[in-house]
């Protein structure tokens, strides 16, 4: 019994291992995979080109993409195509990161936000507005009106894949 009491007394003076969440948050590991976000270029254009490859790679079919064609008057991404609809069902997602791997433009990135809670199923579907990063300073929101002939590539200029 004394031994037991001693353990209690010892722990009382020890530094606690628990933290006061949510006032206090523990930093995540560098390779932690949390809620996704859709990235933008510095000028504000969206990186996502609506290719649906993330949706194809997703093992649980959590992603739904619908694409449309950019015009110079209404441009979302630097390529010819952009995501008109982009949804991730966070209830389905298993945070495997395959979508990030599949993305040819590094548009979808799993961040370190793990605070995902919903009160109904519909709220678990994160739409494009919710996923899209804010416009960086100096950038313009999308859609943008861009000069004719500025963006003529199908997908943004890529480096030699070698």
């Amino acid at each position: 019994m004394l031994e037991g009491l001693l353990t209690t007394l010892k722990s009382m003076v020890k530094k606690p291992v628990t933290i006061e969440y949510p006032e206090q948050k523990r930093p995540v590991r560098p390779r932690f995979k949390g809620r996704h976000s859709l990235k933008r270029y510095e000028n504000g254009l969206e990186k996502c080109i609506g290719c649906s490859l993330c949706a194809a790679a997703c093992p649980v079919e959590a992603i739904f993409v619908e694409s449309a064609e950019n015009t110079d008057d209404e441009r979302y991404s630097p390529g010819e195509r952009y995501a008109r609809t982009y949804e991730i069902n966070m209830l389905r997602c298993i945070f495997c990161g395959f979508c990030e791997d599949a993305c040819p433009t590094e548009a979808i990135v799993l961040g370190d936000n793990y605070e995902l809670s919903f009160t109904d199923r519909a709220a678990a579907i994160y739409t494009k507005d919710m996923l899209l990063d804010p416009v960086p300073p100096g950038g313009q929101p999308t859609p943008q009106k861009t000069p004719v002939g500025m963006y003529t590539r199908s997908i943004p200029e890529m480096k030699d894949p070698l």
């Binding site: 609506g50 290719c51 694409s67 449309a68 195509r81 609809t85 590539r153 199908s154 997908i155 894949p161």
Partner: protein, 830 residues
């Protein structure tokens, strides 16, 4: 037959194929894939891309004896050519040995791919072909992982080149295989696109105004082995692997092309399944692997905001939404009260099942079942039509195809393709038409007659007509009389209902007299203006001459899937006078606006059913998208009305209705949905994983349909009605006779909803010979006013030197109710 085959071995597999088969096709039959880009089994080989290189050895022939030189062990000595050969241009020869799996061949494939990819962009993630792309697939299979060419030297070319408003070219992606150009030249005979420049600067250009002016243009996007050609409809619309495929039958003409609706959920439509594109489905006996642009782009009406999805009842002068029960009870009450004075007017896009239920209801009610059509002869095609085992795709020498009063290119595009091909194979084509059509080029004999003189023109072919016939009639008649097989195809060029009736009767009579009935490759075909007019005739419907009068006297009028009031003010007036008006349709129309009760039906892609094509092939279509709102299939609505009148009627399953049809109509005797869903292997093999071979056409796994027998082929006594009175061609002093013609892109109630095709729709244009125009003081481009049944219509004047004098042509379904030749007053617009 076996002795006619050529024997060879491909990768040690013995293969026997008919002579003149190409090595690439022989390999395909043996299950060996030789990759190709420029070759396509439906086009002539050109050997441009070098993807199909293989090693070919031929047995050495001793020149003196003509025998094979043999080794010590007796095997023929082989001589391999020092270089690889193209499998797509090399026909098989006896004893040939083909090697496709050697290192040498693999190296060649890899290097050809590496070379093709030097100028190819890395567009796969967004390219519409990505996922069903031959270049992508073959690169994965045979290509190099890395390129030795400099990435920065890749060509940058225009990526957004509209060839027309329907087809877009991405110059960077084109691998210069020439399939599109060759398709347009060889198959479609519309040489409107071509190669321009050479080398890396080579590009596909359009040479027509409007751009890419061909009704078959969409097919080039199917056979293009890369994503260089895309349709305006599907551009960046979805990735191919996300699409579901629902088999269907095209609804827009009598050919009955087999198609696939590719569907996907769409957020813009509230998460509903929507049609993203229409693709051909292989049926070598109907459309092979092609469809026309009307079939490909005209489906958009199904998502039109003018769709009606709730029953409506007229209360205090306005149509008010109601519940089904209320609406149907009211219809049943009126039917009980007005019994036999029911007139049912049905349109030709209804399925057999809808029409059967409609006919049963009308018939038991003692009413009149009327077909809304300006063509006749469905009773005759059911008796002396072309019987089973007839295949337009196989007709050749010894066959005569006589086409009369028909602009086939506009009336039934795929038949035009197939009859043109038959003529090229050696079938004798005789064209009788009052003016030049696109079929003339392929005809052995072209006979011109005056509008209104079609019966006289045909009578020359009667066996007893000897006399002195002028050329070219004489030689045409000779060809006709010497033919083993004769098919007569009639259309609606310049004909009204009475003229059509008389012409069909004359054609049938001629076939009977010359014994060209009841045998395969013989008989009568009508180029109907709707998908299922033949089925409607078979179900008991027929058109009548005095439609307006009949409608105005009806106690209850039940109008289904047609818009008489929108087409013709006279019919609108007749409907005003008719008693209770029940309208069943899918879209808002002028007739719906007049209805006392409106019943919302489902579009055909929202439910199942069957169509009978003009060749009398019974084909089945499947539901592709879910029906909107509170709609019901046509057959179910009619069945519910019947049930309220105390009769049994099938409302659940179209399959069961077809069984009822089979029990009552001998031509449909053995038909059921299982039979219609049967498939067998079709040559050439297409639509499988090997997209590089045939393109993105779909393999037919949902049914090839079945050809219906005719009374003649069942050796039943024929029941040919007496000859109708010969129609009188209206000619009047001071008036101009206007004749109707049929145009593919008319302003019909479905087509009008496809924004894509808007630019190509026909206009109310009166076309005449310059001399005729002069007589009326008219010139090209002028607007004139035409007085038709006291209603003035504005028409634009166009001139054509090829037309006969004294008449003018007006397209049907462009807002002017002209469905028969008519003498009209014409004056320039003041």
């Amino acid at each position: 037959m076996t002795d006619k085959l050529v024997h060879l071995t491909i990768d040690n597999i013995p293969v026997s194929v008919p002579p003149d088969t190409l090595v690439v096709d022989a390999a395909k039959q043996a299950g060996i894939n030789i990759p190709v880009f420029c070759y396509h089994p439906k086009l002539h080989p050109v050997g441009m891309c070098r993807m199909c290189l293989v090693e070919i050895g031929r047995p050495l022939l001793d020149r003196a004896s003509g025998e094979f030189v043999r080794d010590a062990d007796g095997a023929p000595k082989l001589q391999f050519s020092p270089k690889l050969e193209t499998a797509c241009t090399t026909p098989v020869t006896e004893g040939m040995v083909v090697i496709t799996n050697s290192q040498k061949v693999a190296d060649a494939r890899r290097e050809v791919l590496e070379f093709i990819l030097t100028s190819h962009p890395l567009d796969c993630p967004i390219c519409d072909k990505g996922g069903e792309c031959p270049l992508q697939n073959l690169t994965m299979e045979h290509g190099p992982g890395q390129s030795r060419f400099l990435f920065d030297e890749k060509m940058h070319l225009d990526k957004h080149v509209p060839l027309g408003e329907l087809i877009y070219l991405d110059r960077e992606r084109c691998i210069q295989c020439g399939r599109c150009v060759r398709f347009q030249n060889e198959v479609a005979d519309d040489p409107v696109i071509a190669f321009s420049q050479r080398g890396r600067a080579l590009e596909i250009i359009t040479q027509s105004t409007p751009g890419f002016d061909s009704i078959f243009s969409g097919n080039t996007t199917d056979i293009c082995p890369v994503g260089a050609l895309t349709t305006a409809d599907f551009r960046f619309a979805a990735r191919p692997w996300e699409l579901k495929a629902a088999a269907s039958i095209c609804q827009h003409c009598a050919v009955g092309c087999n198609i696939v609706f590719n569907v996907r959920r769409e957020a813009l439509q509230g998460g509903r399944m929507v049609i993203k594109r229409v693709m051909p489905r292989q049926n070598e006996q109907v459309n092979e692997i092609w469809i026309c642009d009307k079939g490909r782009f005209a489906y958009h009406y199904v998502e039109s905001p003018q769709r009606l999805t709730q029953p409506m009842i007229r209360k205090d002068g306005a149509l008010i939404e109601a519940e089904w029960d209320e609406a149907l009870d009211l219809v049943a009450k009126k039917l009980t009260a007005y019994g036999a004075s029911l007139v049912t007017l049905a349109g030709g896009r209804l399925s057999n099942e809808d029409l059967f239920n409609l006919y049963s209801l009308t018939h038991t009610q003692g009413g009149q079942a009327v077909l809304y059509s300006y063509m006749a002869g469905g009773d005759l095609t059911a008796q002396v039509g072309i019987p089973p085992q007839t295949d337009l795709g196989k007709l050749g020498a010894g066959c005569v195809i006589l086409v009369i009063a028909c602009d086939l290119h506009e009336e039934a595009p795929l038949w035009w393709l197939r009859i043109k091909a038959a003529a090229q194979r050696g079938a004798s084509l005789i064209v009788l038409n009052p003016r030049t059509t696109r079929l003339d080029r392929y005809a052995r004999h072209v006979i011109r007659y005056e509008y209104g003189a079609e019966l006289a023109a045909l009578s020359a072919f009667q066996p007893q007509s000897r006399g002195d016939l002028p050329e070219p009639v004489r030689s045409a008649v000779k060809t006709f009389q010497e033919a083993e097989n004769v098919i007569i195809l009639y259309g609606s060029e310049g004909l009204g209902l009475q003229e059509s009736k008389a012409l069909a009767h004359a054609c049938a009579g001629l076939l009977i007299k010359t014994y060209h009935i009841g045998r395969s490759n013989n008989g009568l075909v009508a180029a109907w203006h709707n998908a299922n007019l033949q089925g409607a005739w078979d179900m008991g419907f027929s058109p009548i001459n005095n439609l307006a009068e009949t409608l105005s006297k009806a106690g209850v009028t039940y109008v289904v899937a047609t818009d008489p009031a929108g087409d013709d003010p006279q019919l609108a007036e007749a409907l005003q006078h008719s008693g209770f008006l029940v309208v069943q349709d899918i879209l808002m129309t002028e007739t719906v606006k007049m209805a006392d009760v409106f019943l919302p039906a489902q579009a055909y892609m929202e439910r199942g059913g069957s169509y009978t094509s003009g060749e009398r092939r019974l084909q089945r279509f499947y539901p592709a998208v879910p029906p909107p709102g509170n709609t019901l299939p046509d057959f179910a609505i009619t069945a519910r009305i019947s049930q309220r009148l105390g009769r049994t009627a099938e409302e659940q399953s179209p399959a069961r209705i077809l069984l009822q049809i089979a029990a009552t109509n001998p031509a449909y005797a053995e038909m059921d949905y299982q039979l219609l869903a049967q498939v067998h292997e079709q040559q050439p093999l297409m639509g499988r994983h090997d997209l590089y071979y045939g393109g993105t056409t779909y393999e037919n796994r949902q049914g090839l349909g079945a050809h219906l027998s005719t009374a003649a082929s069942r050796v039943e006594p024929l029941n040919i009605p007496d000859a109708p009175p010969p129609p009188v061609f209206p000619v009047q002093e001071g008036l101009l006779t206007v004749v109707p013609t049929t145009r593919l892109y008319d302003r019909g109630s479905l087509l009008i909803h496809s924004n894509l095709l808007h630019q190509r729709l026909a206009h109310p244009t009166l076309t005449m010979h310059p001399k005729t125009a002069e007589a009326y003081q008219l010139s090209r481009g002028q607007t004139a006013v035409m007085l038709l049944e006291k209603t003035p219509y504005r028409v634009e004047i166009d001139l054509d030197e090829d037309l006969p004098h004294g008449i003018a042509l007006l397209p049907r379904s462009v807002g002017i109710p002209l469905n028969a030749p008519q003498a009209v007053k014409l004056r320039p617009e003041s």
